[in-house]
Symmetry: C2
Subunit: 183 residues, 2 copies
DNA sequence: GATGTATACTCATTGATTGAGTATTGGCAG
DNA sequence: CTGCCAATACTCAATCAATGAGTATACATC
């Protein structure tokens, strides 16, 4: 239970999402994870990697693990969210992604769980992410303007990013329409 | 000079691009790399990491290193492309990026060097990349269609990707316009 | 009774990445 | 003229993500 120094604890936090609805054992998670109707399209995670992540999440106090014997099968390790784990997850799932390169994986994952948490959560996430995207957009547009005449490569990089951000914004609109409006 | 088994030798190959125009020492590369008019906006590379990559490229036969004494300063290591290094780079720089997640870094890097190699190279790269993107697009559209009614999350993921790919295609058009037409 | 498969993990190793350290020289402020 | 800082040019040890391979048991089935 060190004071949680590890800054970037990004995607592994998402694993906590699978434990929201109750205790789980390690073997069950890849089953849910690989469902193509869910995150199976977005994530790939090797079994050994998963166990390593779970162990570290336990070490850092986000969840507890207890061994449960079964009559027939080999014993399994039950993972359960701690209070810290629960609140950290709730915070994580509503916080927008801060860097463009993380959208691909992180945002889609957040959105997946946010929808499961309820329409308010999903809407808050998309609203906040839209604000962040609009900041990015403004910043890239400024930079593109500055580079336009003198630095053609930098200008093209900016144009690329601007296109990606704009299409992300369009997509966010689509997502918000799809979420049933919060009361 | 092992038979180059390492499959993914991705971005580090780009380092060879800096050696195309002549021998270099390790310290010079981060200077060129961090130029914001060039790849400085796209890449971040720590010094120690850079040296590690150079060492491995040398180990794998893409370049040779020799120590050069200087009158005053400490001696430096001169890196020079081998024939294998030269041809590997030429191939790499013209090959389209195969996975969407690599576009952000890899494609922009390729394009940077391709422009330096000449308009034919840049045009070949963009043409091929466009073909790959169109494949992705078709595949995602098929998948979106299949997921539409029954798997809403999967459908959204597809829509996200479709948007990104479409905006990439628009950007590729922009790039080709900017490249002076090959004779 | 042999073979395969689902359950449920563990472990050793690789390999990317980083922070910190080292050594030398030139310039310049005091 | 000396003390200190910045620039040059790397090296090294440690960390940590990620993977492949291995282990052990039970149930099914042929």
């Amino acid at each position: 239970m060190s004071p949680l120094i590890r800054q970037p604890l990004t995607v592994e936090l998402a694993l906590l999402g699978f434990l929201r609805e109750g205790a789980l054992h390690g073997y069950e998670i890849p089953r849910r994870l690989s469902d193509p109707a869910g995150l199976g399209e977005v994530w790939r995670l090797k079994q050994s990697h998963l166990y390593a992540l779970l162990a570290r999440l336990a070490e850092e106090g986000y969840l507890t693990s207890t061994l449960k014997a079964q009559e027939t099968r080999p014993q399994r390790r039950q993972y359960r969210l701690t209070r810290v784990g629960r609140s950290t997850f709730t915070e994580w799932v509503q916080a927008p992604v801060a860097r463009g390169r993380d959208v691909r994986l992180d945002f889609l994952t957040k959105f997946f769980f946010a929808e499961r948490e309820g329409p308010q959560v999903a809407e808050r996430l998309t609203t906040r992410q839209r604000a962040v995207c609009q900041d990015w957009l403004r910043q890239q547009q400024r930079q593109a303007e500055a580079a336009r005449a003198t630095r053609p490569f930098e200008w093209k990089v900016c144009q690329y990013r601007i296109g990606q951000i704009e299409s992300m914004l369009t997509w966010l609109d689509l997502c918000e329409e799809a979420v049933p409006a919060a009361p």
